[in-house]
Symmetry: C2
Subunit: 154 residues, 2 copies
């Protein structure tokens, strides 16, 4: 490797850092726009994330949700209390561990989540419909590519 190559490589990293940060700012905006419909709904972002977890795995405990979402346990406890009041979530104390309780969405809870979920899908569809089929494929390819590469760094 020649001196000039080293220079190019070192210079390139700076460019890469700048490009990645530009992407991060850009995509923060995209996510913010997409989150808008949730902020307009009756639920906050953290609430929707909790509902998401409850929807996708049954009988989670609060501790498990805390581990997944890295959310404060007091905050979660109160959130779950609200959910129970609204009949979105039911709680059953564990037979095996008297400290833990298993949480599930009720029928109403699943319906609520599905409505939010459908609205989110709709938003993405609206974006895709403004693109050519090729661009859709390329876009998704890029996203999958990013996930693949960044998942290696664990």
């Amino acid at each position: 490797m020649t001196k000039s190559t080293i220079f190019i490589v070192l210079g390139m990293q700076k460019k890469h850092v700048a490009d990645i940060r530009a992407f991060n700012r850009f995509y923060t905006g995209v996510l913010g726009l997409l989150d808008q419909h949730i902020l307009d709904s009756r639920y906050s972002l953290p609430e929707v994330r909790v509902l998401y977890e409850l929807y996708h795995s049954v009988n989670l405990t609060a501790s498990e949700i805390i581990a997944i979402l890295r959310i404060d346990k007091g905050y979660l406890s109160r959130m779950l209390l609200q959910f129970q009041k609204k009949k979105l979530v039911s709680k059953k104390w564990s037979a095996r561990d008297g400290r833990a309780a298993h949480l599930s969405l009720t029928e109403k809870g699943r319906n609520e989540f599905e409505a939010l979920n459908e609205a989110s899908n709709r938003q993405i569809k609206d974006i895709l419909e403004r693109l050519t089929e090729d661009d859709c494929n390329i876009l998704v390819g890029h996203m999958t590519g990013i996930r693949t590469i960044l998942s290696k760094t664990k």
Copy 2:
């Protein structure tokens, strides 16, 4: 186009929507991790965004910042007051429009922002250093590709 092709295309869109939402969840986590160092700093995320705008263009007015970041004007007004108290920002009433004021980072403000900025760069570098050179190039290519495609939809 045959019936089965239509089926594949329609089916594909659902898959694309799911893939994009999976990416959004994934990247929300990435951004959250990257934001951590800011949350550990003396500044909040909105504060850093405002500092970012002030750093990158001189003599912005509060209204311009509001238009860019879509932030509440009362919230911003108070934030700017804090910045002035900390001598990070200086304000000069406009000669042309007596309602508007031009904002600038002070030397201290620029220094503060640059420190935060350097820490952010460091984080990205740390990630890149765990990747091969090829993966770095591919990663940045994907990000640029996403920006290009999504910028078309405006």
